[in-house]
């Protein structure tokens, strides 16, 4: 209990001081996770939509694989991306290791299957309802996929938020490909890991409280936007 109270006061102290280091870490965390989610959505949503509305051989296997990829352990993804981006690896020439770009790549790989698998389910369910009508109106598979994405947009926003939550919360991938370099690739989760291993538990917990509050705030904002839109468009 004492540690938690200490943590709360640490969190308050950090926020109150507007600690420059903390602000930089928070900004980087948001940038990396947001960029990762955007890329993951741009890649994963069309994939999920197309699988949702089409029928082809091996579809069930593909769906099972996609669902399974949602459970990719972050540390495994981190390791794979590290080996890819390492100088000794195939993409070493790009010099991306230990930069925020590497972190975005790793997190995008983690989040894309979540967006693809969940949107596939949502769009497939909607397709069951819409298929006859859309085909009757003359919509081909691409037009249908786009229409369904728009019509299920409230569920899709929730899926994207889930992806963002996953990205913002993970530490296993970004610590390996980013190196937790002070001032360059240190984000909230890796900072928390560092302070924990240094034994400064109140500070670690305080940072944790700030991180959770941020993610909650983002979700609350998104929820408000959804409610407003839903009221206007049914």
């Amino acid at each position: 209990m004492g540690d938690i109270l200490l943590a709360l006061s640490e969190a308050a102290r950090l926020i109150g001081r507007f600690d420059a280091n903390l602000v930089a870490i928070v900004a980087l965390s948001l940038e990396v996770s947001l960029a990762a989610v955007v890329i993951a959505t741009v890649v994963g949503l069309p994939v999920g939509a197309v699988i949702g509305v089409t029928r082809f051989r091996g579809r069930q296997t593909l769906i099972a694989v996609l669902n399974g990829l949602m459970g990719l352990p972050p540390v495994v993804v981190g390791l794979l991306v590290y080996l890819l981006l390492s100088r000794a690896g195939p993409l070493g020439q790009l010099g991306l290791l230990f930069t925020p770009v590497a972190m975005v790549i790793a997190q995008a790989i983690l989040v894309a299957p979540i967006i693809a698998a969940l949107s596939r389910q949502v769009i497939e369910d909607a397709w069951r309802e819409y298929e006859e009508q859309l085909r009757s109106l003359g919509a081909g598979p691409v037009a249908s996929a786009l229409t369904l994405i728009w019509d299920t947009r409230f569920s899709i926003v929730t899926i994207v938020l889930a992806g963002f939550g996953r990205a913002a919360a993970e530490v296993g991938a970004v610590i390996i490909v980013g190196g937790n370099i002070d001032g360059v690739t240190r984000v909230m989760t890796t900072a928390i890991a560092l302070e924990t291993s240094k034994g400064d538990l109140p500070l670690a917990l305080g940072l944790g409280i700030i991180l959770v509050s941020l993610v909650l705030a983002i979700n609350a904002a998104a929820q408000w936007v959804k409610e407003t839109a839903q009221r206007r468009y049914g």
Binding site: L34, V38, A88, G92, F98, V104, N180, D182, G199
Partner: protein, 277 residues
């Protein structure tokens, strides 16, 4: 249609976000592979700004265990290596991955243990004697077990004490595979003995019932070396910038800065680039 516009905006946004960090990559910087214990001691926060101000070269430290740091350099992912495990460093050199090893500084290890001191070693000056007593009493002992410099030093000490720890260890010996901080956390919660570097101990805040029980034995001194990763083997290594760092760290300016780092008024690292350790 509104959706197409949305998709283009998204692509633009993502590219913009990615471009910002990529722009950072243009500044002068080197990547230094070092150890978690060195970083957690706070030395870099004190040392690097001086170098950066002087040369304009940003130093990016990736802190891992000694074994991992050397492996990272073997893969060519670092420009400079700054660790404290002489035998491992010399092997690294022999393999051709490093150019030359320069001694930089030393700090010391301390034996930390519970105030209840079940093995009765507190206040002693002989580390080997203390280890023998711990083994005899089967008192809980936490090992880092992660091929780090500290771990290698610990294994060497057991050997010097005449104990084959791989054979003689019992459930009292906890091989955790963790960095210095987490291992100290484990020792604190288990009330166990542990060999730690003074730097991490001084900044460690979760001490519980632990305190220093043995210190000052010559055999506990921990020597640091710095090496430029061999550009002949890894052509993209930033040779000039990395060499500038190596040169500065062993120069009188760098050595003075190292000596100036104190925690609670106590000096942590003792520069010895001039000696031949």
């Amino acid at each position: 249609m509104a959706m197409i516009r949305g998709i283009f905006l998204t692509y633009g946004f993502a590219t913009g976000l990615l471009a910002t960090p990529a722009a950072w990559a243009q500044e002068k910087f080197i990547t230094v592979a070092s150890t978690t214990s060195t970083e957690q001691s706070g030395l870099f926060k004190h040392l690097l700004p001086v170098f950066e101000k002087k040369t304009g070269i940003q130093v990016r430290v990736v802190a891992l265990g000694t074994g991992q740091a050397l492996d990272m350099a073997r893969r060519g992912d670092a420009d400079v290596v700054f660790v404290h495990a002489k035998s491992a460093e010399e092997k690294f050199l022999a393999e051709g991955h490093g150019v030359k090893r320069f001694p930089v500084m030393y700090n010391d290890f301390i034996l930390v243990g519970p105030k209840s001191d079940p093995a009765k070693v507190a206040g002693g000056k002989d580390i080997l004697d203390a280890l023998r007593k711990i083994e005899a009493a089967a008192a809980p002992f936490v090992s880092r077990g992660d091929r780090s410099g500290t771990h290698i030093a610990e294994l060497d000490l057991w050997k010097m004490a005449g104990i084959d720890i791989a054979r003689d260890k019992g459930p009292w010996y906890r091989d955790t595979g963790q960095g210095m901080g987490p291992a100290l956390n484990t020792a604190s919660s288990m009330n166990a003995y542990i060999l730690a570097d003074r730097g991490t101990w001084l900044s460690f805040k979760n001490r519980g019932d632990l305190a220093i029980v043995v210190e000052g034995d010559q055999r506990l001194f921990n020597q640091y070396g710095v090496m430029l990763v061999n550009p002949a083997k890894h052509p993209h290594v930033k040779k000039a910038l990395g060499q500038a760092f190596v040169d500065w760290v062993v120069s009188s300016d760098g050595q003075k800065t190292i000596a100036g780092y104190k925690i609670g008024g106590e000096q942590l690292f003792f520069p010895n680039a001039a000696s031949t350790r």
